[in-house]
Amino acid sequence: MSARFRILAAALFAIAVCAPAVAVAGAAARAGRVADEDASRIEQGKTLFHAKCGYCHLEGGTGTTMLGKRLGKDRALLEDRTDLRADYIKHVVRSGIGSMPRHNRIEVPDSELDLIAAYLTRPASARGAAK
């Protein structure tokens, strides 16, 4: 085996052996990026929720009071709820409910509503950090 061939063979071996590891590392990096993007969306959604919904839906707000009367105190604070669905949140924001007025797409554009819904429906793993 010539020296040149040995080097090539070694290189091919290295590629063959290392490729799965590289693929795994790539997938992990992608997953990390997705997780980072999700975290960022949740954080943005939290900021928007506080700025645009917090008037009524934080502690002591009229929305919190009315939800407490309707559904019980344990389901009054939207931030603490784990049973909300994104499509339901969007429907209520655009259609209103009870004495809550509808919100238009200039006040809360669809892109912002997506982020607010992402925050309110965040997975359990994100609940410790973003509240």
């Binding site: 009524c56 002591g60 009315m66 009870g98 004495s99 509808r102 238009n104 797409r105 200039i106």
Partner: protein, 519 residues
């Protein structure tokens, strides 16, 4: 809601206008689906919300975009209904007076352009909300206080343009306007007061300029689109002193107003206190069914039991003195002496000093908590205010109070009233709380409103502000010399806005081509 075209505008011309609007602001900011139109309905409509349906909405972000939109609207004869943030709840919210009007939604124009601590003013765009300005002042540790209305969800500029009230010495918000920038109906940009000079350092210091003063002409009118507003803010005082008292009897409101009037006139009291019946407090915490499930207005015995439970009197008085401790103490003594002539009760006293948390300071801290009241009757709640202005004396106040309470009870509503005392007059806000899904109740509410307007007119009182559905009725009560003032208003309207594109019908002022629309 399905599309209702503006009166006299073809579907083709309307679409051309929308396309042209999109060319100015981008497609994203022109809303014209059925769902979009729904979002601009009056959330607290005292009846059929479909009486005031926007055809579309357009959301500019700059003065130049507004100018372009106004010019397009003229070209296509498409009317515009400017809103600041659309939270004029109880007065129509974000809905236009005339169906088919395009809402000019200024929510995106939300920049705080300047806050001048030395001279005590801010310059803001119409989309700036009370919470925005409050947060800005707090974040930047600027010792200036705002005047904030009961429901602070809305726009600072919009509230001042509708003559809204707060509770500090700067509480008459329209009085704090000093220098505005306005896009006229023809697209021309003007600045009022000394802002009309190219380089005046006094635009937001001196209200009047030279010649006619125009700021107030653009308040509660439809002559232009306000794009910037100078607004005076109150320097943070060294201290405040609060005086609270519960008055047990309905007629106590009479002597209380007589006792407070001279103190307000001579400057012992520098804020406009609001004396409200105590159901106002209860509606902020509970719903009616928790106390009473019967028909008709809540009986007196139920009401008295309820007040006892909450430790309230028939009326609640909350006064606040602002300034230096020593002066506040002297003024508090004068107020106590004036009240001691009428009651053995003593004021509860609270004090605040600079540097302490603002809770209970008497500063304007935004909240929307009073909106809770709309849930009083359950269902899809709402409220409508009837708010006449009358002289601040017991004979006027007592007569108006008893007359209004009786009218409320005739239709089965619980009386909810307050008297806000200014130097020489009181503003009597009467809130009708209802369930929009109860058609019988809503029929009674509308009848009540009409009869209250008629009753007030007989006494020579008019509302200071009203819901879009009643603007013609209230404008009609200004009947001196066969409505000469309305003719002047409409002469100005025709001169400034010959195509009638800005807010047709607002405050009962209609452009020439649409006057047959008057109710």
């Amino acid at each position: 809601m399905d599309l209702i075209l503006p009166l006299g505008v073809s579907a083709k011309s309307f679409q051309q206008a929308l396309d042209a609007f999109a060319g100015v602001v981008g497609k994203e900011w022109v809303l014209s689906t059925n769902e979009d139109r729904d979002t601009y309905l009056d959330a607290f409509a005292p009846g059929d919300a479909s009486s005031h349906v926007a055809s579309a909405a357009v959301g500019p972000q700059s003065v130049e975009e507004i100018q372009a939109i106004v010019r397009i609207a003229n070209e296509h004869k498409v009317p515009l209904w400017p809103i600041s943030r659309g939270k004029n709840l109880g007065y129509g919210g974000c809905a236009p007076r005339m169906s088919g009007t395009v809402v000019l939604d200024l929510s995106r124009m939300n920049r705080i352009l300047d806050v001048d601590e030395r001279f005590g003013y801010c310059v803001i765009e119409p989309g700036v909300g009370f919470f925005d300005l409050y947060n800005y002042l707090q974040a930047n540790k600027i010792p200036l206080w705002m005047s904030v209305p009961a429901n602070a969800w809305g726009s600072v500029a919009g509230n001042a343009l509708e003559r809204g009230y707060g509770y500090t010495p700067y509480g008459n918000n329209t009085n704090n306007i000093c220098g505005m920038e306005i896009v006229l109906a023809n697209g021309e940009l003007i600045r009022t007061g000394t802002g009309a000079m190219a380089n005046s350092p006094c635009w937001h210091l001196f209200k009047y300029g030279f010649g006619p003063s125009w700021d107030q002409v653009f308040v509660q009118s439809n002559y232009g689109v306000v794009t910037k507003m100078g607004m005076w803010l109150m320097p943070e005082p060294e201290a405040t002193l609060g005086l609270s008292m519960q008055l047990p009897n309905p007629d106590d409101i009479g002597w209380a107003i007589d006792a407070l009037r001279p103190l307000r006139l001579n400057g012992v009291l520098t804020q406009d206190p609001s004396l409200g019946n105590s159901i106002r407090v209860v509606t902020g915490q509970a719903q009616r069914t928790e106390f009473y499930q019967g028909d008709g207005a809540m009986p007196d015995d139920v009401l008295l039991a309820l007040l006892k439970r909450y430790g309230l009197g028939w009326w609640g008085i909350n006064l606040r003195l602002y300034g230096y401790d020593e002066i506040n103490e002297v003024n508090a003594r004068l107020i106590k002496e004036a009240f001691a002539k009428h009651t053995d009760r003593e004021f509860a006293v609270s004090k605040w000093h600079k540097g302490e948390p603002l809770d209970n300071s008497g500063a304007g801290v935004p909240t929307v908590a009073p909106l809770q009241a709309v849930n009083w009757r359950g269902g899809r709640g709402g409220h409508l205010g009837f708010s006449p202005v009358l002289p601040s004396s017991s004979e006027h106040v007592l007569k108006q109070f008893h007359s209004t309470k009786k009218r409320f009870e005739e239709v089965g509503l619980d009386y909810f009233g307050s008297f806000t005392l200014s130097e020489r007059y009181v503003t009597n806000v009467n809130l009708m709380l209802y369930d929009q899904d109860d058609p019988a109740m809503m029929t009674k509410v509308r009848a009540l409103f009409k009869v209250l307007v008629e009753d007030a007119q007989k006494e020579g009182y008019s509302e200071y502000r009203t819901h879009i559905s009643y603007m013609d009725e209230v404008a009609h009560t200004f009947n001196y010399n066969n409505h000469a003032l309305l003719r002047l208003n409409e002469t100005v309207k025709d001169a400034l806005d010959p195509n009638g594109i800005l807010a047709p019908g607002k405050q009962g002022i209609w452009p020439k081509a649409l006057r047959e629309n008057r109710a």
